[in-house]
Symmetry: D3
Subunit: 215 residues, 6 copies
Amino acid sequence: MATNKMLLACILALSFSVALASVVPVQDFCVADPNGIALVNGVACKDPKLVKEDDFFFSGFDKRGNTSNPMGSKVTQFNVAQIPGLNTLGVATVRLDFAPLGLNAPHTHPRASEIMIVLRGTLEVGFITSNPELRHFKKVLNKGDMFVFPIGLIHYQKNVGKGHAVAIAAFNSQNPGSIPVATTVFHAMPNIDSDIVAKAFQLDKVFVESIQSKV
Amino acid sequence: MATNKMLLACILALSFSVALASVVPVQDFCVADPNGIALVNGVACKDPKLVKEDDFFFSGFDKRGNTSNPMGSKVTQFNVAQIPGLNTLGVATVRLDFAPLGLNAPHTHPRASEIMIVLRGTLEVGFITSNPELRHFKKVLNKGDMFVFPIGLIHYQKNVGKGHAVAIAAFNSQNPGSIPVATTVFHAMPNIDSDIVAKAFQLDKVFVESIQSKV
Amino acid sequence: MATNKMLLACILALSFSVALASVVPVQDFCVADPNGIALVNGVACKDPKLVKEDDFFFSGFDKRGNTSNPMGSKVTQFNVAQIPGLNTLGVATVRLDFAPLGLNAPHTHPRASEIMIVLRGTLEVGFITSNPELRHFKKVLNKGDMFVFPIGLIHYQKNVGKGHAVAIAAFNSQNPGSIPVATTVFHAMPNIDSDIVAKAFQLDKVFVESIQSKV
Amino acid sequence: MATNKMLLACILALSFSVALASVVPVQDFCVADPNGIALVNGVACKDPKLVKEDDFFFSGFDKRGNTSNPMGSKVTQFNVAQIPGLNTLGVATVRLDFAPLGLNAPHTHPRASEIMIVLRGTLEVGFITSNPELRHFKKVLNKGDMFVFPIGLIHYQKNVGKGHAVAIAAFNSQNPGSIPVATTVFHAMPNIDSDIVAKAFQLDKVFVESIQSKV
Amino acid sequence: MATNKMLLACILALSFSVALASVVPVQDFCVADPNGIALVNGVACKDPKLVKEDDFFFSGFDKRGNTSNPMGSKVTQFNVAQIPGLNTLGVATVRLDFAPLGLNAPHTHPRASEIMIVLRGTLEVGFITSNPELRHFKKVLNKGDMFVFPIGLIHYQKNVGKGHAVAIAAFNSQNPGSIPVATTVFHAMPNIDSDIVAKAFQLDKVFVESIQSKV
Amino acid sequence: MATNKMLLACILALSFSVALASVVPVQDFCVADPNGIALVNGVACKDPKLVKEDDFFFSGFDKRGNTSNPMGSKVTQFNVAQIPGLNTLGVATVRLDFAPLGLNAPHTHPRASEIMIVLRGTLEVGFITSNPELRHFKKVLNKGDMFVFPIGLIHYQKNVGKGHAVAIAAFNSQNPGSIPVATTVFHAMPNIDSDIVAKAFQLDKVFVESIQSKV
């Protein structure tokens, strides 16, 4: 009987992990040419002879983001659009500022997983797994705590402490992208048909239109 | 002056595409062992000697999905959970059924891009790009028409024809995943705090809780 | 003794699968610029501001392919060459038409795995594994049945039903490529030396040359 | 007018290359456990403490392959099946021996590109591109010459010199696989239906069966 | 002449970048099973039903590293060995502490690029490109400044300010690895032959042995 | 008790390998345009119609490298810079020549794993794992022996036989790169501050400067 349990344990154990990895570039660096940066991806390499220290440098992580907005939060991005030397290297960061009760509203990153570290204050954070489980993992984080948000999953952070809160997050993409769920659904350009939003959210169509009409 | 324009054209032209690719497996196949299939990923390979035709086979694409539900639509999945031979091969499909006015509500696939083809009826489809543009691309599709939804972006399909509609979609993942935006935000397990949802969607908290309380 | 068997089971179990995945793009989309499309890969991104719905759209999946040819089959492609919005997204499809007894002759896709679904009729399909096993997996498929063909392996489909047959196939590449074995070996441009073909296929050299001389 | 030509040159120039890369492992090494090696892929890692020099070592590249066979050639493999330390590292080699007139018959590698170097003798080599071009690139190589065969394309090597010839080839896969076209088509296990082979190669069915019946 | 310049501009422009990307996992998460964590890579997935918030959580980023060592610096790692939920997600971070004049000695990360941000103090940082250029890019960074170190290149950080300095670095790997050049060359286990080190560094062999003999 | 051992065996067994793979290109080939080759990566594709056999060809592997230099060794490279057809294909080779006692000094390849085969003579080879183990694996190799060096790890080869030695090495990158540790640390352009090198190697600063001042 013990061996039967063992067999079960072995079989269960046979569902494995795969530690996925990044893709190797094909040269030391390929600094994005400032003239091509507007399109973010696949911009031209600067002539390597013209590459200089400042292509790998950026400043301003210590500047508090302006949280005077309805969400009371600000995400300051440090990706390939700001740092051309990140081009082809597959990593980027952001600074997150939160006024008291400030919210980084539910969103996804379509092209990266994220690890976030609280530098100051107290945040409640969470993510929800995909269909059909929709399991909600959440945690209150204090200074020095960190949390992981897997690629593509909806997640959020809220300041639940008394003062301003600050966090840093890192991504395994030079351009992780961000999809704010509520804004995307209610304020796309042009709007999604109110019929569709109303049915998806099981809301009244007129009510949806009233939300859509707000800027 | 003409050469200046040329220079500009050249510089503009320097924003390039990168045709990304899939990752090569390291053997002809690695059929998922049925004992390990529950966890979907990284399950054990069946002993190749025991692999048989039926591991690469599945049936039932011709069966109409049951659309008797509030959304009036049904997604029937054909991925590695159904077809163990898909393991490691990076491709999967679904069948989409829509009752008249049926909606496949706004959702994302966290791990794959999608190409969808209308086999019957008329669908209105759309996707919205990431922050800050949130551009909404949409199109009405008839039988034989196809449309592309890039990885991680919110998209939807709605039956705007008179009868039942059917589509097939293909994905570049053996397990693309699906995140239905409205359900995730309003009906995670457990729920996201109503404060957070209310603030994100700029709705009344009591109203959010009334939605959350519905099954 | 039971534990010895257990140990053996554990050790056997240690041959695992690796669920390989696709590669993430670095922006929402990079629509192929029509001026560059001829070379298929790595074409320039269209200026995102000029991208429109039709870049992600294509029509004609419902059009029957012309099977009036010696093989009695037709493959209609829907990949990045037809749909510029597929660029960088790693997925494509084809429509397969078969006259009665029509054959999609043995071929490989050098850059993608495939899942095929029968939409109409009855097909016999098969693939053969690599050296030295050369195992042949085959199956008769009816409407609604699907089958998987792993990347790079030789496979074929034949209409073994009474009427016209139709299938759809999906690939995890924007440009899977196709290598028809017989045509490649006997009708390359220029031809492979008849000595080589004769020796490889253990055929008479004059006979090989007679095949090569047919168009 | 000159500027118009320039514009054309620029536009043509916008069809780019993408220098694709390998995938990074997630640890220094993961030596294949000899108990699991039979399945080649995804075998268990040996306990790193038990890993020793010989796991990264193999001998015998200097041994001449036995070319006493109908093709007059022999491919000796040095991949993860022989060298467990290659596991997860994505590289492998072979030694190719050719008797005079010996042929490494047309074949593909489903999971790797190849670079081959002639160490002794004279080889005629070639590969054919995919449908519909089927362009045949070929070259006679002498000692010290090298040639590239892109992933998945049909290629061959033939000894066109007077003596024994030797070459080395390297692949970007720990298990590139090999699909010998003629053997696969005529001697799969079990055989492909003679009807199918006859139609594909436009040969007489009885003749196909006579080839299939030879061992 | 203007057109010649244009031509030159076009040709120069034809050296492009490739914005490389990460690899997508095949499920929402695959939390490393704590029993398997010792080997870091490819550990078993925990049963998803048993996964909990704390698998994605870690604490202690705010704890100052102990810099009482010859280098006067301390790297505190937060990767998959500490946070099992990072498994398969391809991202990790470290905290860097520097006493005054403290040095994070020249090292490489064999499996990731890095972006580092100064949280406190002043650091001089640099990296050197590969053979044959060996170009040395360096920069003095103050609080809020950030710098990029491409995968595999030798780099270092030194506290050139007056007080304790702190930085955070992020990597696009769950286990980037670190290779401290001096320690590896002079204190491998067992040591590299003193002959080899002496010749490589063009030092006296006895002198090399005296260094090697120090702990 | 037996079952306890079994449990241990199972748990140990749960540390798995992941057989990583290369990335698939998106076309048969993308030959590097000679005008763009200087920057190595992401050069333009030649118009496929203009591609010819010689783009996949290179000569000179049989030429002995000039070992009349302080290290007594020479690495002759055969990568995408020499063979434009290698572009996007992820594989390259080198020829290694060693005078008696010649040394290929400790170095890393930032973008590829390596397999090396001794074609003539006797080499002592070794690599050292990453921090904190720094395990040194070494082996004496004779003609026909091969050894594996994992990506990014410091490794070396030394001629310990009586005559000239020759080896070939293959890499899973079209441009693996090489970082010679001693030269990089002591002779970067410009030099690393002598303070930093002195502290890292625990050498006297004046002594470091004397080494740095030698060419």
